[in-house]
Subunit: 356 residues, 2 copies
């Protein structure tokens, strides 16, 4: 099969880790006789430096003409003093909105070879395997007004949590679709005891659930979910929630297993190419030093093979290669225990390629 | 000293645990020669059953005429199907607003005698000692509009995150005051890379910080804070944040040490009596069974002695009593390890009284 992949390395370690994923995709193409072409675009701080914009129009055009998008990471202290609309993160928010990337999927699973790295006790974290489905284009992130204002003669400020019911329905539906391929349980997280938006969310979840009689729906308040993720993360299969709650809970969840450098994510589009990226950030402190862990980005590429290209056996081949490398004891510095020597980024990429 | 305390037992185990705290306060009064009077009021489900309202006017009047308020717990499945304005939790939101309880303080500290109960590895949780200061009367919880609406002919919904700058200033100031009595570090949590309200929050924090040259101010994004609480909770001294972020993060923090049944909280009023309550809920499943852990409520009473009555040595006496009971190996069922016999609620209260 022929596929065109837009590669947006971004900032910091983004270049190194995206480069690794491209190498692995090339190896997959060779082994499975596909033809992947890669075109590069700018986003984030790198784009600001080059064009004055965190997401130039050419990048959007490139993405729209591609079959899938691979993103490295975005942001860094260099651009922290920029006005808001010229900050690297704006590039992320804009690409989500412009490409209709409505659903962010983050699988959280336990790597038995990395159990030492978890802050949680072994008996709590063992066999954890769930996925967080976060709404990505609505809610507080995009609602208007979002501005300074005057109230009774004094300074005040307002942000707006706005959702159309349809935006809720489509993401909840996706979570039921995913659950029906898994353990058949959806945990819908809201704050229905306080927010009107959460009450509509809960009603919508109930409506969607009617069409999936074999999937169990459970509601959980967001504050309780923040506790349950730590107390008993094994209870979850698919967790679905709105944008801001999803931001907080998915980051909380990402540190449970202790292998942040291993976690991939997919942002699914309503109608166009989807985007794949590691969960970790741009880690400016270690950028360019050839020590970043490329595995999260490589696993994001596997996710792309599966979800965007329907290449299940190719995806599995990459995942198996990563696991076998870990099982052989190879580690980058972020996941190396006290007694393990660590590989450079390039060495790790080479090991995965060899295992493939 | 003479002091009048409003006692609002509420629902579920609320009665049992509030009763325990009253017994201890009575013992304190006797030992230190104070005169405490207790008057009882209704809130939550109990109030709905008795008066049709989750927070009747008489309760508000009672609270306003008291020097401090002791709350048990509120809510239960019995009232889950009530319309929103008649739900027990509405009583909580209303009492916060009516009494100007603008600041919720939640100290999180490690009980060395309970280390087994923590889901986190010992080396991460050891010596943790911080306090979360949550804004309690603004933000998404109270902003208008909060309603269903129609957008482009279709169902939609809106909630509003509204703050006056002054509301931000007073809570941030309080957190600096608290930090100057502690380790002199404030971590201000926001989402300034997305929300306008967070940008005003951050500016306000910077302004307040100028008046506290000996306190260090650090900003942290809420998603990162959700990670840091698990990865390295020892880094925190005073964490201050707005209402919704505070709801999520303080519940997350409350399970780190594994001793939810031990954690107390204070809700400080701008201009009237403050309210003290355990962090745990009404636990309807164990209500009336004489097994609930009364220690969080007893520690909340100690907090009241300190903050509302300025009775430092009395507060310390209660805290010491609780610690010595734990050190002697006494446990209620929620914190009992595998090999420990557990005490009933009443037995635990009696032990604390004896230790006092
Ligand atoms: C950078 C920021 C705007 C972004 C978000 O909050 O969505 C990030 O935290 C994420 O989760 O992808
Ligand atoms: C019951 C609910 C309204 C309340 C809140 O969200 O504030 C509770 O979760 C709390 O934290 O006290």
């Amino acid at each position: 099969m022929k596929r065109k992949i837009a590669v947006l390395p971004g900032d910091g370690i983004g270049k190194e880790v995206a480069g690794g994923a491209v190498e692995i995709l090339e190896a997959v193409a060779e082994r499975f006789e596909h033809e992947f072409t890669f075109e590069y675009g700018q986003i984030g701080g790198a784009a600001i430096d080059a064009t004055g914009q965190p997401l130039p129009d050419e990048t959007i055009e490139l993405c729209k003409s591609s079959d899938a998008i691979l993103l490295g990471a975005v942001g860094g202290p260099k651009w922290d003093s920029q006005p808001t609309h010229l900050r690297p993160e704006r590039g992320l928010l804009k690409i989500r909105k412009d490409l209709n990337l409505y659903a962010n999927l983050r699988p959280i699973s336990y790597f038995s070879s990395l159990s030492e790295a978890s802050p949680l006790k072994q008996e709590i974290i063992e066999d954890v395997d769930f996925i967080i489905v976060r709404e990505l284009t609505g809610g507080l992130y995009f609602g208007k007004p979002s501005e300074r204002t005057i109230f009774e003669g004094k300074e005040a400020v307002v942000d707006t949590l706005f959702y159309q019911k349809e935006e809720m329905r489509r993401i909840i539906e996706l979570s039921f679709e995913i659950a029906s391929q898994r353990q058949k349980k959806v945990t819908s997280v809201d704050k229905a005891n306080v927010l009107e938006s959460s009450r509509l969310w809960r009603e919508t979840a109930e409506e969607v659930a009617k069409n999936y009689p074999d999937v169990t729906l459970e509601h959980m308040l967001v504050d309780n979910a923040a506790m349950q993720l730590i107390r008993n993360p094994r209870q979850f299969d698919v967790v679905v929630t709105e944008n801001m709650f999803g931001d907080i809970l998915s980051d909380e969840a990402s540190v449970l297993t202790g292998s942040l450098g291993m976690l991939s994510s997919a942002s699914i589009s309503v109608d166009g190419p989807s985007l794949f990226e590691p969960i970790h950030g741009s880690a400016p402190d270690i950028a360019g030093k050839n020590v970043a862990n490329p595995l999260a980005t490589i696993l994001s590429a596997a996710y792309m093979l599966r979800l965007s290209f329907g290449m299940e056996k190719e995806a599995e081949a990459v995942e198996k290669a990563v696991h076998s490398v870990l099982d052989s004891g190879f580690r980058t510095i972020d996941i190396a225990g006290n007694n393990t020597e660590s590989l450079s980024t390039e060495e790790m990429i080479a090991e995965v390629k060899a295992a493939l």
